[in-house]
Amino acid sequence: MNLDFIIFISLMVLGYTAGSLAERGHFKSLIRREDATMKQPVVTFEDGYELPAGAKFRKSTLVSGSVVISIDYFKRFLASLRFLVGGRVGAYESLLDRARREAILRMKYQAGGADIILGMRVETSTIGGRRKNNKGLGSVEAVAYGTAVWVDEISPQIT
């Protein structure tokens, strides 16, 4: 049998098993961490945040989180087939979804304990491969950033 073909098939199998294992694990961990940080509000608006009565701004700072994620061999092949016929490219959808959610989570962790994150922005970009035959987007970077705000209660409630 042709050696190239054997290499191709084994890369496909490797990409498929390792890739889908990694993806499933990542989604599971994303959901777990998103549940854990649910109490940390993140908003895209800039003004209109009303302080609770008697509270005062303590400090604010820029926070950000970023991640670079690569697609696996199998999905890249799948996508290249999809490029022939057009339509929804599911393989890349999940890649971008993972990257954005991970970036937002990392931003939240950096802001740990802030009362709110205002004016959040998410930016996505692709990192070009070095080799010429690197078709499609190999890896994608997502960065999330916003302004973390800490609030001081002037009259702490006595319980």
Binding site: S60, V68, S70, R76, M120, T126, E141, V149
Partner: protein
């Protein structure tokens, strides 16, 4: 210490002076060792930790150049900071940070 925000004001502070746009940028190339690891990772998928680090280091560098420019103006805060990334050549990326330098004082 220069304070940074991604919104149009600094919570709890009043803007007393505007100095206009400040910016910083840097272009970074991947290095061969990291690229080798990355091309292996390209087969199985997943996070490219080397690149994540590289890009966040570069972004910090761009930010600090922007901050230096703001300091020269005598500003003590940069508001409405935005980040942009563009790939200039294969294997290299430009990280760009820009914002508005202002002077703030407590309300």
């Amino acid at each position: 210490m220069i304070e940074l925000t991604s919104i149009q004001y600094l919570p709890g502070k009043r803007i007393v002076e505007h100095y206009g746009l400040v910016q910083g940028s840097t272009i970074r190339a991947k290095h061969l060792g990291r690229d080798l690891m990355a091309s292996l990772k390209n087969l199985v998928g997943g996070e490219l930790k080397g690149y994540t680090e590289l890009l966040s280091e570069a972004r910090a560098e761009a930010t600090s150049r922007m901050v230096k420019q703001a300091e020269r103006f005598g500003a003590n805060a940069v508001i409405n900071v935005r980040y942009a990334t563009s790939s200039v050549a294969q294997g290299a990326a430009e990280l760009f940070a820009y914002g508005t330098a202002v002077k703030v004082e407590p309300e």
